[in-house]
């Protein structure tokens, strides 16, 4: 299986959790075990654009209990004999091999996954800044010659890119270090934020320079936060920025 596999380096490993939960898109080649008319295949694929049940396979890295996964869309691409090509957008953790098996059962003829290519993992897509292992080795060697940062940018992206789909709250410099120490974000620290945040949403807290500070869970919606003068806006869940990057913005009793 090939395709988009975001690799997190050093500090950016802290955002892996956000990537694992993010949606995925695949192009899948499914092999039918019997002949089926195209209209029937198209109709059955549409039926799977729903919340589906899956039990993780015997060889899996998670607990084998029945769980639900959302299939956002399945787009039929083409069919040649018993080979069916389709594109599927789904929640993170959906087993495509199992999806093919279930599609085969509904069709009645049986089916299995023949080939799979991941075309998206969260904000990372295959036609934007994707590199091969050879590219990584080559560009890294080139960079070592003259340490030119434009060369580095040809194959490495800032970890903030990985959070592109997570709603953001931008905060004042003076609030940054407190959040780096795990403090809750309060209303006076908020400068701007994105629409569509509801209470309990996972958000990314960013500096005004666009650096990721932490992942947090909100206690209020976009509209509520806009009108809040004090109180907790979000609880810090995962700190991404090292402490001390920004100066301490609060008064300590010891000073």
């Amino acid at each position: 299986m090939t395709g988009v596999l975001p690799i997190t380096l050093e500090e950016s490993r802290k955002i892996v959790q956000a990537l694992l939960l993010s949606g995925k898109e695949y192009v899948c080649l499914m092999k039918l075990h019997g002949d089926m008319p195209e209209e029937r295949v198209r109709a059955v694929l549409k039926e799977f654009e729903d919340t589906i049940y899956q039990r993780p396979p015997l060889r899996a890295s998670v607990k084998r209990q029945l769980r639900t996964r959302r299939i956002y869309y399945i787009d039929f691409i083409e069919m040649d004999g018993r080979n069916v090509l389709f594109k599927v957008g789904c929640e993170g953790g959906t087993y495509i091999r199992m999806l093919c098996h279930h599609i085969g059962e509904v069709l009645g003829c049986g089916a299995h996954m023949q080939e799979l290519r991941r075309t998206r993992a969260g904000p990372f897509v295959e036609d934007e800044g994707i590199v091969t292992l050879h590219d990584v080795a080559y560009w890294f060697m080139e960079w070592q010659k003259d340490k030119n940062n434009t060369v580095l940018k040809r194959f490495i992206q800032p970890m903030e890119k990985a959070l592109a789909l997570v709603p953001k709250i931008y905060i004042r410099d003076s609030a940054v270090d407190a959040v780096c120490h795990g403090a809750r974000l309060t209303a006076p620290g908020v400068v701007s934020l994105e629409t569509g945040i509801s209470s309990g949403s996972m958000v990314a807290i960013f500096t005004l320079k666009g650096e990721a500070v932490a992942l947090a869970r909100t206690e209020a919606s976009t509209e509520e936060i806009l009108n809040m003068e004090h109180g907790v806006v979000a609880r810090t869940k995962r700190v991404l920025m090292p402490k001390g990057t920004y100066p301490k913005g609060w008064r300590s009793g010891e000073v």
Binding site: M1, L5, I7, E10, S12, G23, T51, D173, S192, E211
Partner: protein
């Protein structure tokens, strides 16, 4: 069930609550981080080849870049 909106199809706008400036003496615009920092806070959008496991591919990247730790976002079976 109608086709639902995927997370990457959601459009968000920025709304301003207060005005403030950031002090250029602290932190960096992510695009302007010095090389070592840029790598440390970096992500590679890798095209996984067929054959090796996601874990093996991550280990190769670790060796190529000669760094201590790498992770990967979502196993893509071999």
């Amino acid at each position: 069930m109608p086709r639902s909106v995927a997370p990457w199809e959601v459009e968000r706008k920025l709304v301003v609550k207060a005005e403030d400036k950031t002090d250029p003496r602290y932190g960096y615009n992510p695009e302007e981080r010095p090389a070592q920092e840029y790598i440390k806070f970096g992500v590679i959008n890798l095209d996984k080849p067929a054959g090796p496991t996601s874990h093996e591919v991550a280990a190769w990247v670790k060796r190529i870049l000669n760094i201590q730790n790498v992770g990967h976002g979502g196993t893509l079976e071999a």
